[in-house]
Symmetry: C2
Subunit: 333 residues, 2 copies
Amino acid sequence: MPFFGVGLTLLVLTGSSFFVLGAYYQHHDFWHKLQQLIQEDPYAFYIREKLYDALPLLNLNCREQSVGNGSRMSEIMKYGFPGLDDIRVYSDFVLSYDRRNRVAHWVYEHLRAPCVQSNGGGASRHEANYQPDMSVPSNFRADVTDYKNSGFDRGHLAAAGNHKCHQTHCNETFYLTNIAPQVGKGFNRDAWNNLEIYVRELTERYGSVYVCTGPLYKPKRQMAGFTEVENSRRANGKWCVEYEVIGENTVAVPTHFFKVITVESKLPGGQPYMEAYIMPNAPISTNTNIRNFLADIREIEHIAGLQFFNGLRRSFFFDTNYTTTPELYRNFQ
Amino acid sequence: MPFFGVGLTLLVLTGSSFFVLGAYYQHHDFWHKLQQLIQEDPYAFYIREKLYDALPLLNLNCREQSVGNGSRMSEIMKYGFPGLDDIRVYSDFVLSYDRRNRVAHWVYEHLRAPCVQSNGGGASRHEANYQPDMSVPSNFRADVTDYKNSGFDRGHLAAAGNHKCHQTHCNETFYLTNIAPQVGKGFNRDAWNNLEIYVRELTERYGSVYVCTGPLYKPKRQMAGFTEVENSRRANGKWCVEYEVIGENTVAVPTHFFKVITVESKLPGGQPYMEAYIMPNAPISTNTNIRNFLADIREIEHIAGLQFFNGLRRSFFFDTNYTTTPELYRNFQ
C-alpha cells in the first residue's frame, strides 16, 4: 500500500510540474513571437501594454524585459505619439505620413549632445542625396521632380545637423517623407535655421532634448473680391484654408511650421521643460527674435489635429515658461 | 524490474499529457483575452492575423473560430480599410476621423436589402438628433453650433435611410463624426440624394452592397489677381487647395464628395462589381444623370490619400464597367 501511495504522489508531482512546464513553454514561445511582432509592427508597438496585459503568466517579468530591450523607437517616442496615421520608423527619427498632402504630419526626434555637435560623429550631409522613400505607395509618394522649379526649398523636418552620429542617420533625413516645401530666403535658410540651431544649443546644454516638427495648414479670414489686407480688416469674412500644391504628385506647401520641444532636466528626478513654436512659411526679417514665435501648444493641436503628451498631466509641462533665452538658461537645470 | 518499467511508462505518460494540458490551458486563457482585445481595440483588430500567427498551438482552429465569431465590424470592413487614421466603430458603420478637418476621412457601410427598404425595420429618422460624439477629444470635436448660420446642411456620409433595421443604427448616423457641411439646395437634397437612392436600389436588387463615402479637398488652378474663370483658362497657373472652415471648431467644408460602391454578385462565386463617383459640393442642375459623375477610383485615392481594396488585384474589380444603369441592371447578376 505505501508503494501505491509513493507512486501516486510521484504521479501527481510529475503531472503538476509538467503542467507548469507546458504552460511555461507555451508562454515563452508566444512571448518570443510577440516581441518580434512589436519590433516590426508600429500598431503592435502602440498597443504593446495591452498585449502584455493579455499574457497570463510572468506578467511582471515580461514588462521588465520589454523595458530592458527598449528599441530606439521607444526612446524617441517616450512622450507619446501625437497621432497614429501611417507611422514610419527610421533609424534615428519617427514620423507620421500624411498621404493626402504628401508631407509628414509630424516628425519626432530625440537629440543627444554628442550627435548634434559640429564635430560630432563625422556624418556629412554632403554624402547624402534627396530621394523618394520607395516604401510609400507610388500614389502617395513625393518625388524630387515635384520640387524642381517650384520656387521652394526642400526643407528638412528632422534637421540633417541633428543626426551626425552615423552616416545612415544623416542620409535618412534626406528621404522626401522628411522633407516639406519651404520658402528658402528668409525662412529655411534664416529664421527656421536659427530655430534649429537653438534646439541644438539646448541639446548641448542639457544633454537630452525631444523635438517634434511638422507642417500647419492654418485657416485665414478671406472673402472673394477683396485683397488679403482688406480681408484681415473685415470682422465677418469667411475663414478659409488655402495652400499651394506643387508638382505631379501635388505636394502640399504648408502655410506654417511648428516645433514642440521637450528639454529634460539634468537634475535627477527633475521635471522636463516644454515650449512650442509656430513660424509662417514666409520670409521673416533677419532681426526677429525667435521667441516672438513662441506658441500655445493647444493652438498647434487644434490646427494640426494632433495631441501631445497624451496621458501625461499638462500642468507637468506648463509649470514653467521663460520669456527670454538667458532666463531659460539661468533658471532651468 | 517490470514494475519499474510500468512505473516509468506511467510517469512519462502522465508527464507528457500534463505538459500538453498546461500548454493548452495557457493557450486557451491567452486566446480568450486576445479575442476581447481584438473586439475592443481597432489596432489590435487590424493586426489580428499577425497576432493569430504568433499563437503557436491550434493555429488553424483559432482562425476558424475567429471567422465564426465575426463581428459586424469585420463584415463591414470585408474589402479592407482605405486608411487607418482614428478608426471609430459604430453599430452599423465604421469610419476614420480626420482630426485636422473635423470631418471623417471615410465612412464604410455594408447595406443589406431588408434594412434599406422604406418600410424596413421601422427605425425613423424623426426620432434621431444631431449630436457631437463625446468620445472625440474636445479639441477635435465638431458641435451643432458650428453648423448654425453657416449656410450649409448637416449632410450624412452614411445615409440615415440605409440603416432602418434598428433605431440605434439610425440614431448613430446623426453623430457629427458622420456629418459634413454640404450645400443644401441642388446637392444634399437633390443630386447627392439621388446617388444615395441609387445605392439603395442596387441593394434591393442585388442584396449586398458595400459603400464607402467621404470628402475630397480637390486642388484647382489659381493665380492671385485673376478670377476663377480667368484662372481656369491659364495653362501655367499654380495649383491650390482651398476650402472654407465653419464655426468655432473650424469644421472643413469639402470641395467634393466621393462614393466607392461594391456590389456583390447574386451568383455563387460571382465576382463583385465596383464603381466610384465624385460630385462637387455645389448646386447641380436637376436633369444631370448621376452617371456623369462616374470617376476613376485612382483619382479618389490620389486626392484623398486613401487606398481601396488593399491586397486584392485591381483587375478583379475593373473587369466590368457599364455606362448606363439599364446596362448594369441587364448584365450584372
